[in-house]
Structures are given as C-alpha cells and as structure tokens.
Amino acid sequence: MCGIVGLFLKDPSLEPKLGAMLSDMLITMTDRGPDSAGIAIYSGARDGIGKITVQSADPGRDFRNLDADLHDAIGQPVLMLEKSTHAVLEVPIDQLEAARSALGHLRPAVKIMSVGDSIEIFKEVGLPRDVSARFAVSKMKGTHGIGHTRMATESAVTTMGAHPFSTGPDQCLVHNGSLSNHNAVRRELRREGMSFETENDTEVAAAFISHKLRSGESLGAAMEATLTDLDGFFTFVVGTRNGFGVVRDPIACKPAVMAETDAYVAFGSEYRALVNLPGIEDARVWEPEPATVYFWER
C-alpha cells in the first residue's frame, strides 16, 4: 500500500502551520503504511546558507562536536541543529560540496538525507505518529512539504528504505507502488554518474528525475519521461526547491486525491488525509488523471 500526503502553500500566512497540517495528514495515513514514515519540508531559502540533513544510528557518538569538526575541515562557520537521529547542518552555500565530502571522512557512519538550500528530510522506521513526534514535525514551518507512510513490499524496513528519497539538490520523491525495471534503470543511471544508497526501487525513480533535471530538463519534462522509461505501478509526488508535482502510471491503480483552493494545493492517497484542511468543503477536489503530469511552481 503506502500513503502519500503533500501540501504546496499559496497563502504565505499558512507557512507557520505547514508542519502541523502535514503531520496531521501523515498520521491519518497510518493504516496505509505503519512500517516507517518520513517527510521532506521546504522551509525556505536564506541568503548564502546551505543545509545538509544527516542521519545516524548512533547520534550520541556521531553528532558530538560534529559542528566543530566540520568547521575545522571547511574553515567556515557551521551551525548544527540536532533532532533525534537527524541533524541539520547549516554551512555557507558555496561550501556545500566541501562539507558533504568532509562528512564522509569525519563521520563515515552518518547518512546524508538531503542537501540544498531549502529542503530538510526526516525519516525513520516506526508509526507515523511516533516519527512525527520524534522530529517535532508539527512545529516546522515552510512553503511546501511531502510526507510518506510506508508499507514495505519491495525492500527491507530500514531508515534508508523509508521515503522521501533525495538524489539531487533540493529534490525529493515519494512513491506508492512498485517498479519492475528498476535494476536495469539503476545500471544505466550508474553509468551516467548517479550514485545510490539502497537497492530500493523508489530511489531509482528519484535518481531518474534528478538525472533529467541535471541534464537541464524541466520538472514537467522529467516527470513526463517516467511514463515511458519506468515500468510498474506508481503514483509519484515530487518536490523541488520551488515546485511540487504529481504523476500516476497509465494503469493508475494506486489511489490519489487532490484538492486546490486559493490557499493551497494538497495531495492525499485518500480523501481522509485532506478532511482537516482549512476550507476543504469548498475546495476543488479531483482524482488526478492517469499518465498525466501535474505540477505547481512558485
């Protein structure tokens, strides 16, 4: 199964409530995916600041003095905000790559969840309610966000197997479904220089889109290409620094409901996920068409 929720805000006055709204939607989708949960939140870029979200199975060991060690390595100030098993490291934007490679030497066991100037990703195994509480998702602010509750069918229930997957700067993807040609596509993408952390099919879809974006294609064109090159069942929700997109495979057996008002665009695997949104009674509610790309950019 799996559950997906997404929220793209048009009304800035809702931005302080993004995390609270998204967390509520995520918990509603618990019975579609009780194995693990995750969210990507776009909290808005700040001039000159880049962010790396990292995860550790042993945060007491890995995060101790990590800011100071990274400061020594790159010679620039580093701000670290710890959240349970995750930490967000803020570095000057031009030092993102240097910081990323330094992390590999300084803390080899640490996993990188996301890199960019707006995105932060938090994901763990466990019930959506517990995962949301662990990272205090309901207190987060932002412009748009995507959440996922996982019922694993394809690879192991691990932190790294949870969604969202991020394979490019400020990019993320969540998936309901399963891909059948992911091994072949992964091999092709590896030849093109993309790297992979897991054997998961969804990570291949994320990297497929990141690779297209890196080649200069638009988000719409990259999502359109999934319809010809990826085989299997999918409803994808994709996030970029400024955008939010949805695409379903031509068979479209994985459920999807969308709602739009003047204040937001929302996605839910089921209508249940949308019932608490403000003004939902008067929203335009529809089921996205099969093999059709929808995206919104600010």
Binding site: P250, A252, C253, P255, V257, E270, Y271, R272, A273, L274, V275, V285, W286, E287, E289, P290
Partner: protein, 229 residues
C-alpha cells in the same frame, strides 16, 4: 430519522446498527454525519431503509448492498457499491475507481464523474453516470447496463460478455472485442427507463446515445475454428 455521528460513534457501531435492521420495518430513515472519508460506510445493509451520508466517503461505501437506498451527499472513494445485489446507491459527486465492480443487481447513480474501471466485471447491476468515466470501464462485464452521459476513456468494454453499454459522448477507444451496435426500439425503451430511474431524464434523451456491446469473438467457442484451438 435516526442520525448517526460517525466520528463520535464509530464505523462498527454504524454498520452493526444497520445490519440489525434486517427484517424490520421501523427506523427506515437514517442519516450519517461526519463521514470524513471513512471506509466501508453502510456496507452490507440488507433492509428496505434509506441512508443518507452527509459528506464524502472512502473505500467500499455501500458495498454488497441489498434492498437499501443509500445516498452520498459528496464524493465516493474506490469500490463504491462493489458487489451490490439490489437497491439503489446515488452519489451526488464523483466516484473513484471500480465503482459498481462485480455488481449483481440494483442501480448505481453517479451524478459527477467516475474514474477508471467503472463497472468492471459487472454481473447485472445498472450504472448511470451523469458525467464521464475513466479507462478500462466495463472490463469483462457480464450483464447489466452501463449508461454514460459524458465521455468514456480508453479500452471501453474490453473482453466484454453480455453487458450493454450506452455512451452519449466520445469514446476514446474500444477494448478488445467491444464494438458499436445499432440502437433498436428495445434499446431506446430500456435507455429511457434507465435515464428516468437514474435521475438523468432531464439531461439527456435516448436518441443521443450510441450502444456498444460484445462482438462475441473472444469468449465464444467457434466450431469452425476447432482445428486451431
């Protein structure tokens, strides 16, 4: 009128109360408030009652319905009226995928659009959709009628048996072994009745529809081809 607050009282209590009505003749009018997209609302009812759901529903609303009239004042999630046996289900908004799947009898009316696989494997149910339907609708449909005032998506009536399909708008494509057939007097009469019962007689006239059915090439054993089987 019995009013049931689904959020306060819960789904099992609702369905237990509705199931307990079998054979009774009192408490025939029910209203369900705060459905909030919940699954299996009023599934398995087997009594001559009238149930109005005030809002949108999740999976399998009115599934297996017998005798009851169930109205949804909102949209319905996947599998509404799945395997309905008899009675009437009326959706004011849209219906998600596989509405009326495997239905054996009764009438399903969708006043908005229905998405993919509407009437898949229908076995005697009548379905009237005021809007349009998605791809693979009436796949392997065996009997009953599917009436669509709007358009139909790809592969309409694929691998069809003996169900009748009437579409007023455009059909994107016909599935394997589904063909257009002539409208004869009996079809106009049947359609007139379906439009009236489907609360669509003010919106459309039988003469505006085309009929589609099985070419009977796919499922019928043909003695002339015995050597190639």
């Amino acid at each position: 009128m019995q009013t049931f607050d689904l959020e306060a009282q819960g789904l099992r209590a609702l369905n237990a109360a509705l199931h307990a009505l079998k054979g009774q003749t009192n408490m025939t009018a029910w209203e369900v408030v705060n459905p909030r997209g919940a699954h299996a609302i009023a599934a398995g009812v087997d009594a001559l009652v009238d149930v109005t759901v005030r809002g949108s529903t999740g999976y399998y609303c009115a599934g297996m319905n017998k005798l009851a009239t169930i109205r949804v004042k909102g949209s319905a999630g996947p599998g509404v009226a799945e395997n309905m046996m008899s009675g009437t289900v009326i959706i004011d908004g849209d219906a998600s995928q596989y509405a009326g799947a495997t239905g054996r009898g009764g009438l399903l009316v969708i006043k908005g659009n229905a998405s993919s696989r509407c009437g898949i494997s229908m076995k005697g149910i009548d379905i009237v959709v005021h809007g349009s339907i998605g791809h693979m609708s009436a796949f392997m449909a065996q009997s009953g009628n599917l009436v669509v005032l709007g358009d139909a998506g790809d592969a309409l009536g694929d691998s069809l048996y003996e169900a009748r399909i009437f579409v007023r708008g455009r059909v994107k494509s016909l599935g394997a072994d589904c063909i257009e057939k002539e409208m004869r007097d009996e079809h106009y009469a049947a359609l007139e009745d379906l439009l009236r019962r489907g609360e669509a007689d003010a919106k459309a006239r039988p003469e505006e529809f085309r009929r589609y059915g099985s070419a009977r090439k796919l499922y019928t054993f043909n003695i002339d081809n015995a050597s190639s089987y």
